[in-house]
């Protein structure tokens, strides 16, 4: 299937400068520098590009807010902190298509009026860091970044910044704290980074995949881009499949492609010929969907209507014969461990949910225990500096709704119903 990022929809090895230029690479930059930054923002807005880090926020709008905010200098931060379990799309983009990512970063910096951009990359991604480092050297030698890019007035400094490898270090404002030399702790918002970000200055933090979409849009136009995807989610998105399926990997698909296509055609179905019990379209923090929802289109609106979300495209499957209680315990423990601990509500919520789930697992308590989950989640809604507090809720509540029998069996016997 034709893609926006990967020419054939799948990653095919590292593309160096020569190969990238041979297929039109850096032409978007030359084109953009002849136009005003406002025109580039308008173009991205018309294309309908939405952030690929999980929230799906309109990129053009984020840039406009950054550009219009008071304060100099402005900063751009490429967020490659990627630490969601199962997500590898940013790593593959950085490793295989470094120039596509770099050209997008330069274009974005031009659009918001940034003279400095940080390339924040998970420190464990040594191949990606080397790939980007090499590509930066190649691109600088050609005058694609540095002083007076391509002989014009726009100058930009680019710097790689290794990211600590923990989940919260990928949260936009935690990213800013790390670059400022502090611990990866999310900030209270507002103010948002677009008005008071890095060193208190207007900053746009954009995911790697989001930035990778920018050069193709500038090169081929908004109309071309909108040929992919749906009206509200234009373009393509990279989905990650883990070893739940026969062919794990990352797949670039137009938004709106049915979930079934990703799992069956791309992934080759569940490993070992197992049947699907539940699907988590945005692991580890989305609601589970039952197998009857396999034809749900992979786009923001359709997923919301089906009761789940798209996140950053890590699709996980639960096989029939697996116990959902055991699954949600793993998820809840993950968020308990990854909660940074600075917000009391998050600390209490994540610890309590995990403790209660373990009691259910061991058969302690009765039905009133099951009623507590919704109460804890509702009580803590909207509290906390970042969104982590909202993450354990959808998996746990959807599991309780879809598979009450698994919980009841644990409570009744203290044993797992499927083991």
């Amino acid at each position: 299937m034709e893609g926006v990022l990967f020419p054939r929809g799948v990653a095919e090895g590292r593309e160096g400068l020569k190969a990238y230029v041979a297929r039109g690479g850096y032409q978007a930059l030359a084109k953009a520098l002849k136009r005003s930054p406002e025109e580039i923002i308008r173009l991205i807005d018309q294309a309908g590009l939405r952030g690929r880090g999980g929230a799906g926020f309109p990129t053009g709008k984020k840039w406009q807010l950054t550009r219009e905010a008071t304060g100099e200098p402005r900063y751009l931060v490429m967020n490659g902190g990627e630490d969601e379990p199962g997500s590898k799309k940013d790593r593959v983009l950085l490793e295989n298509l470094p120039h596509l990512v770099i050209e997008g970063t330069i274009l974005s910096a031009y659009a918001i009026g940034a003279a400095k951009a940080y390339l924040y990359i998970n420190a464990r991604y040594d191949i990606a860091i080397r790939s980007i480092g090499d590509a930066l050297a190649e691109a600088k030698a050609e005058g694609y970044w540095g002083e007076n890019i391509l002989g014009g007035n726009f100058s930009l400094d680019l710097e790689i910044f290794p990211a600590p490898h923990n989940y919260v270090a990928g949260e936009d404002t935690a990213v800013l704290e790390v670059i400022e030399g502090k611990k990866p702790l999310p900030r209270q918002k507002p103010p948002f980074p677009v008005t008071a970000g890095l060193f208190g200055k207007p900053t746009s933090v954009n995911n790697v995949e989001t930035l990778a979409n920018v050069a193709p849009i500038v090169r081929y136009g908004a109309e071309w881009y909108r040929k992919f995807g749906t009206a509200e989610s234009p373009g393509t998105m990279i989905f990650s499949l883990d070893d739940d399926v026969n062919r794990p990997g990352i797949y670039e698909l137009p938004f709106g492609t049915p979930l079934r296509y990703l799992i069956e055609e791309c992934g080759g179905g569940m490993r070992g010929g197992k049947k699907i019990k539940a699907i988590m379209p945005a692991a580890p923090s989305s609601a589970y969907l039952p197998p009857e929802k396999l034809d749900t289109p992979l786009d923001h609106n359709s997923m919301r209507a089906a009761g789940s979300s798209l996140g950053c495209g890590v699709v996980r499957l639960v096989a029939q014969g697996s116990c959902i209680v055991e699954e949600v315990i793993k998820i809840s423990e993950f968020f308990t461990a990854e909660s940074c601990g600075q917000c009391p509500a998050c600390r209490m919520e994540t610890n309590t949910l995990t403790a209660l789930l373990k009691k259910v697992q061991g058969g302690q308590g009765g039905p009133p225990v099951l009623e507590q989950f919704g109460k804890i989640i509702a009580f803590n809604k909207g509290k906390g500096f970042c969104n982590l507090i909202a993450m354990p809720g959808p998996p746990i509540e959807s599991a309780l709704k879809l598979f009450p029998g698994d919980f009841e069996a644990h409570l009744a016997t203290g044993k797992c119903p499927v083991q």
């Binding site: 009391p344 600390r347 209490m348 209660l356 302690q364 804890i376």
Partner: protein
């Protein structure tokens, strides 16, 4: 059913001395011969900014910002003395949530 005194042992309360509070409260409870009272650690009540927190159950009394010098009054309360009003500062909706959790009997 025996009575319990839950002393939060999460990081904030701990940093404000809740480990010592637990040991000291155990001593005071023993000194008063309150054999039906068990002083136990708790993982987090969600009121870290007002810690250290101690919750008495099933009485459902929540004492916040407890200092060592408050412990005699708390132990006296457990022995039938008056409720220590000045330490009762927690928001009622949080209290309700935590008391409901404790009512399940599993935590």
């Amino acid at each position: 059913m025996s009575r319990i005194c839950l002393v939060c042992q999460n990081i904030d309360c701990k940093s404000r001395g809740s480990e010592q509070l637990m040991t000291e409260l155990q001593k005071r409870v023993a000194a008063r011969g309150l054999e039906d009272v068990e002083v136990k650690p708790y993982m987090c009540f969600g009121a870290c900014q007002e810690g250290p927190n101690i919750v008495l159950y099933p009485e459902k009394n929540w004492y916040a910002q407890v200092k060592v010098e408050d412990l005699d009054e708390i132990a006296d309360h457990l022995a039938g003395g008056p409720h220590v009003k000045r330490l009762d500062t927690i928001d009622s909706s949080l209290k309700e949530l935590i008391y409901q959790l404790l009512d399940t009997g599993v935590l």
